[in-house]
Symmetry: C2
Subunit: 247 residues, 2 copies
Amino acid sequence: MLSKARIKYIKSLQVKKYRQSEQRFVVEGAKSVLELLGSDFVAETVICTQEFINLNQPTLKRYSGEVLEVNESVLSDLGEFRTNDSALAIARMKPNNKVQVNPDEFALMLDDIRDPGNLGTIIRVADWYGISKIIASEDTTELYNPKVIHASMGSFTRVAVYYTELTNYLQVAAVPIWGTFLDGENVHTMDLGKGGIIIIGNEAHGISENIEKLVTRRVTIPRFGRAESLNAAVAAAIICDNLRRGK
Amino acid sequence: MLSKARIKYIKSLQVKKYRQSEQRFVVEGAKSVLELLGSDFVAETVICTQEFINLNQPTLKRYSGEVLEVNESVLSDLGEFRTNDSALAIARMKPNNKVQVNPDEFALMLDDIRDPGNLGTIIRVADWYGISKIIASEDTTELYNPKVIHASMGSFTRVAVYYTELTNYLQVAAVPIWGTFLDGENVHTMDLGKGGIIIIGNEAHGISENIEKLVTRRVTIPRFGRAESLNAAVAAAIICDNLRRGK
């Protein structure tokens, strides 16, 4: 049984302020919880149904934290997502460790991505394309927002997201800095190189002026129809697909 | 001034049942309203600020419907999106006209896309890549949902979405039928051909069994990392980018 105080605590973690002060976050859904348990995140509590326990004995045996069994209705009341009727976990946040981009690898940089669904989808895209480092502006949505964790579909466990002031970071970066604009080189035909930082701009305003000045490779995704722009996560995915496909 | 009855009517159009009975829908935000007014949709009422009127005199002069001026707070209360403080329009739905796919063109087919943000983003992707026809299963989210219209960023005015039973449609289609699976041909290297129907599967369950049987080209987006799958709109975008880039 979950105490009222415990329920209140878990629900409080839906709010950024409380996540920050507790340095804990919530992971919802069987798939994401299993990815969490298989990762280097520290999970403290798993709250799940009897069925989840039965189906995942080997994983839960390797896990040394607390497991609380509840029924489906308790579970779907507990989280942000009413559709979750299987498992939920409380885990510790990681410290905001600096990531370095080596000359032979690609990383993504997020210039003020605000939509949690977009951020989660970008993390999933990075993971699909084998990109393990993301540098995010301080105004980018918080990684531990439940909607980000949900949209990342477990990929938050494999992609490091480092929040920092971007201009300072870029000024000392010794790799090509890519930005997507309407007047850049065609990503379908350009020489892609072996590594660099790919900047994804804000959903409404694109790449900010301060950051644009530091871009060394202006890139364009060719357009064949009439939409004015692409969604941020979609643009990130298309750039990544072009990088990986080679020539 | 807006009457209480009018406000109630506009708010009712956020609900599918009322949209269906009225055959009207709401478009929010300056950009989308301007795209609507430049399209072949019939707009009946534009509700907007004095500033919107001042900025868009030429467009509004060509428009013969009703224009109601309100202040920003009335406007942001009226719609689904609190961030809209500029313009909102009420427009007539179009009939669900059948679309035919010719052998020399590509179209998208949506097998039960449920998330309105995904549907809107897919419409925007189609528009970017010059694809003007989408065939959607009857369970796919309704085109006129405010979140779909919003995420499409005006592209709903240029892409026809036809709702129908998919197996019947495919059985008489005389073009290649593409489906994305983990065991298909590599989209980076395969011969793409000149046209066909590209099926995008449901967010959780992928392409349904009945539809899979009718697929004539199994396609794979190569994976370089560890995510298990891609978001539906992202997958659609990557396929489209590969189709258009040529060889």
